[in-house]
């Protein structure tokens, strides 16, 4: 139950947002991630976005991983 899934934010409407995963649209609360913007990815846990996922960080850590794996 602690697993949270990354979803794309499509629309923001006050303290709620419309998000999409695998073609399904849902409304979630963004009260604990007020900084979220349309186009961000968020981790959603029990109907709440708990953190804004950084695409730059995701790409950067993949780059580091690739370097690590190649440095052999």
């Amino acid at each position: 139950m602690c697993l949270a899934v990354p979803t794309l934010v499509k629309k923001i409407d006050g303290q709620e947002a419309e998000v999409e995963t695998g073609g399904v649209t849902r409304r979630i609360s963004i009260v604990i991630t007020p900084e979220v913007k349309v186009g961000d990815y968020v981790l959603v846990h029990t109907g709440y976005a708990i953190t804004v996922m950084s695409g730059d960080e995701a790409r950067e850590s993949l780059r580091q991983l690739t370097e690590l794996a190649e440095f052999m």
Partner: protein, 365 residues
């Protein structure tokens, strides 16, 4: 989301696993604290990918599993009250209390409803103002802010029929209790990813500083976990334990300040009862005085039934990392996902369920 799919890239997985083999020169014991990690490790065959001297142990990080039988009995007692609708997350339903389960009480006519979102619980309360709705608040720091937000929302909407039974648990204090017990010797901890989105990576610093144990926060994809293990092995080999973050796309050192603010405005730290560990100081959350009106413990006479744990079940020892599901005589025999004896087989994040579903055999302990 292409760049996230790459965190499952098989070629990279293989190379990173090779890297761990190359780095690892001596036996190490790593605990994955979080049940979500246990599932990901079993599902992706990570145990088979890492060198045999890297031992992976499950810890007390499944919220359903660590709920003490006495607390389950409270939820069951509430479900038996005619004016009460009990709302909870699905996994809790089948877990046996001392003499029955929420599922059985529901079959006998109790109003027990399963939701995926705390907000649905508010919706149920709003639709049925004649009834009292009690949300069974289980979970760690990931869930607690969302439940706190639901209480603030209920207050804002002026609702007087929404209650929470707060059984929340906190991770760093139980990690401390586990280490102080000295029952299990560890070299490193795979720190929980989604708990850390809320609390950040700093609260683990005492573990490397005071206990000399390596800590790395991990995500849940195969590459995330392998990277975490690689970092842990590197720290242990170099003899310099510290806290590192292998999940920077979701976790910042300071965590989610807004979530912490909401959680701390509604809850205060209290002792909590853990399956297998008993009462652990300062490891739980109770409602602050200002929010007592939402506290199910205050609002209802909850019958206290005798407390007995399921016979033969060793969930408690599994949660403390001193036994594995394969040590349980009932595993795969008397205890199966269809008719589970204990919570570790019920919960989708339970060790026994993960071992069973992904076919662990005795030689891969």
């Amino acid at each position: 989301m292409n760049f996230l799919d790459q965190y499952r890239n098989p070629e990279m997985v293989r190379r990173l696993a090779d890297r761990i083999h190359q780095r690892s020169t001596r036996p190490v014991r790593l605990m994955e604290f979080c049940g979500g990690h246990t599932v990901a490790i079993m599902k992706n065959g990570i145990r088979q990918l890492v060198p045999p001297q890297v031992q992976l142990l499950s810890g007390p990080g499944c919220p359903v599993c660590v709920t003490a039988t006495a607390d389950l009995n409270k939820a069951i007692g509430l479900a038996r009250l005619p004016e009460v609708i009990v709302v909870t997350f699905g996994d809790l339903l089948k877990v046996p209390g001392s003499d029955t389960s929420l599922e059985k009480v529901r079959a006998e006519g109790g109003d027990v409803r399963v939701v995926y979102s705390v907000q649905d619980a508010l919706g149920i309360a709003q639709k049925d103002p004649e009834k009292s709705v009690v949300f069974i608040g289980i979970g760690f720091e990931t869930t607690a802010p969302t439940i706190a937000a639901s209480i603030l929302e209920a207050e804002r909407r002026g609702m007087s029929n929404y209650y929470v039974l707060s059984l929340h648990k906190l991770c760093p204090p139980v990690m401390k209790a586990l280490l102080d017990s000295k029952e299990v010797r560890l070299d490193g901890i795979i720190c929980p990813g989604h708990v850390s989105t809320i609390i950040g990576s700093r609260p683990y610093e005492f573990i490397s500083r005071d206990y000399g144990i390596a800590c790395v926060v991990s995500g849940f994809e195969p590459l995330d976990i392998l990277q975490c293990i690689e970092m842990l092995v590197k720290q242990i080999e170099s003899g310099q334990p510290k806290v590192e973050n292998a999940y920077p796309r979701a976790v910042r050192p300071e965590g989610n300040k807004e979530a912490l603010k909401i959680m701390e405005s509604v809850f205060e730290v209290s002792n909590a009862n853990w399956r297998g560990l008993g009462e652990v100081a300062d490891s739980g959350l109770r409602l602050k005085d200002e929010y007592r009106a939402f506290d199910a413990e205050e609002a209802f006479e909850i019958s206290q039934r005798s407390v007995s744990d399921p016979e033969g079940c060793i969930c408690g020892e599994i949660l403390r990392g001193i036994k594995t599901p394969l040590d349980c005589k009932l595993f795969g025999k008397g205890c199966l996902p269809d008719h589970p004896v204990g919570p570790c087989m019920v919960s989708s994040e339970g060790s026994c369920a993960a071992y069973f579903q992904y076919g662990a055999t005795s030689h891969e302990r």
